[in-house]
């Protein structure tokens, strides 16, 4: 039976620097959706998505990717199929083009990959950026280049760790439109961490609320915002909504 979930987590515990960051996480993250992980800071959101392309391994529990135990997928293949966009974009030395070509060179093993101009377009930049020095771009442009770079390996899933946290609200909103379009037009599964509830509400189709390393509730975004099962979900999503 083909897996409906991109990722399935069972009883996952994680620690970082001796501190428990995730406790007994059971979660199914649906494929071909935009999943937002929300929760107060220190809830374990970043710890969780770092497990999904194995930048870290959990201390206990199991994770399946596409129905296969995640450690049975060759690590470099997993990371090409599951891209990661960091909170603070890191540009490799050189032009935008060389940044993207680096990713292509890493992924090119007979697979059909997008060309660099196409990747850039998907990330919402036109090809006049190709010859720009990557170090001289604005924060929003850098985040789009790192999005394009992650797309160059033709991933099935993109993990975004607070991609808009360093951006102005208007720039952030534009980036979210791009992300949403990627899911709708290209069919990439998006799993993103955000602390902006408004962003989660408008961009995501599926929502996971984490608190102190535990999953409070997981479900369709519209349902979670309108009639959540848990009182704490209501308190967080509706109470905090005014503040953020």
């Amino acid at each position: 039976m083909p897996s409906e979930s991109a990722f399935t987590l069972r009883a996952v515990d994680q620690e970082r620097a001796g501190r428990r960051t995730l406790s007994g996480v059971d979660l199914d993250l649906p494929r071909r959706e935009v999943v937002a992980l929300v929760g107060p800071s220190g809830a374990g959101k970043t710890s969780l998505i770092r497990l999904l392309n194995r930048l870290d391994d959990p201390v206990a529990g199991t994770i399946a990717f596409d129905g296969t135990a995640i450690d049975d997928v060759p690590i470099r293949e997993l990371r090409r199929r599951v891209g990661f966009v960091f909170q603070t974009p890191v540009m490799f030395t050189g032009t935008v083009r060389s940044n993207l070509e680096t990713a292509v060179a890493l992924a090119a093993n007979g697979r059909q990959l997008p060309d660099v101009a196409e990747g850039l377009r998907l990330a919402g930049l036109d090809d006049s950026f190709l010859n720009r020095d990557a170090d001289r771009l604005s924060g929003g442009e850098r985040q789009r280049v790192s999005l394009a770079r992650a797309l160059m390996t033709a991933p099935e899933v993109l993990l975004l760790d607070e991609p808009t946290s360093a951006l102005d609200p208007e720039v952030a909103e534009q980036l979210m439109l791009t992300v949403r379009r990627l899911a709708d037009d290209v069919g990439v599964t998006i799993i993103m961490v955000t602390h902006r509830l408004e962003e989660a509400r408008s961009a995501s189709t599926h929502l996971v609320l984490l608190e102190a390393g535990r999953v409070i509730e997981s479900g369709r975004t519209s349902v979670m915002f309108s009639s959540p099962n848990e009182e704490r979900t209501r308190g967080y999503l509706l109470g905090r909504d005014r503040l953020s």
Partner: protein
């Protein structure tokens, strides 16, 4: 005073050395006068210098007299271990002790260099001739030690500074070697620049100790210079091999078998 000569060199008696110690007394007096608090250090240092060098003198005399290959090799290993300890003592590594890889890198770098100089350049008979092997190895080890220490220190700081970049590469499916290529390149450059500079300024800024010694011992300046050129090449090779081995082995420590960046234990 007895100034009889031996092999062209003026004999230096213990009485002469007592006269030379007046120069350390000057240093002690000056540091007392300026309240540097270094007088005690000078006294202890002077005594240690006398004791250590005297012991070394006896050890060398013994090695030269016995001429046994295994004693010479043992002496080389003691030098190597002492240098490894010096190179790692001040190191603070986020990923565990690095004595083993430092020792191994130095063994490879210094061993290959000495073997080449011994067997190919000088063609020593016997191959373990202590008069050549021990002083040459002393120079090789000293330089390799500095190279290894510099390389390790720089790789540690570059990996910490660039962890975002390293993880960005890993996240794209890059190998650890590719992900750490820039930190490795920078660490190696830092380790090798002194070797390049050494070649550049030799004879201009300072007359090298070995050449000075040879000339004092009555050797012709031209022969002394040719030896010194060989030494300069030898040291460049030793530092390059040692630093490269050091960096490549040390790099692996920063990654788990699953190609994850090792998290620095928070202090």
């Amino acid at each position: 005073m007895n100034h009889g000569t031996m092999s062209g060199l003026i004999d230096l008696s213990w009485v002469d050395l007592a006269l030379a110690s007046a120069l350390v007394l000057v240093a002690i007096g000056l540091s007392q006068w300026q309240r540097l608090g270094l007088a005690r250090g000078f006294v202890i240092g002077a005594v240690r210098a006398v004791v250590q060098l005297t012991i070394v003198g006896y050890v060398l005399a013994f090695l030269f007299a016995t001429r046994r290959w295994y004693l010479v090799v043992l002496a080389l290993l003691v030098m190597l271990v002492a240098a490894t300890k010096t190179a790692t003592d001040r190191q603070r590594s986020p990923v565990g002790s690095i004595s083993a890889i430092t020792g191994l890198a130095m063994l490879v770098g210094t061993g290959l260099t000495l073997a080449y100089v011994d067997g190919v350049v000088l063609r020593l008979h016997p191959w373990y001739d202590p008069q050549y092997v021990i002083p040459l190895f002393g120079m090789i080890v000293g330089n390799a030690m500095n190279g290894a220490a510099l390389a390790a220190e720089r790789l540690t700081s570059e990996m910490e500074l660039r962890r975002g970049e390293v993880e960005a590469y890993l996240a794209l499916g890059a190998s650890p070697a590719r992900a750490a290529a820039e930190p490795v390149r920078r660490a190696l450059t830092a380790a090798l620049i002194p070797a390049v500079n050494g070649l550049m300024v030799v004879g201009l800024v300072a007359l090298p100790g070995m050449m000075t010694g040879q000339i004092l011992a009555g050797s012709s300046p031209n022969l002394a210079v040719r030896y010194q050129i060989m030494v300069a090449f030898m040291l460049a090779g030793a530092v390059a091999i040692t630093s490269t081995a050091m960096v490549l082995w040390y790099r692996r420590r920063f990654f788990t078998p699953a190609e994850q960046l090792v998290v620095r234990a928070e202090v």
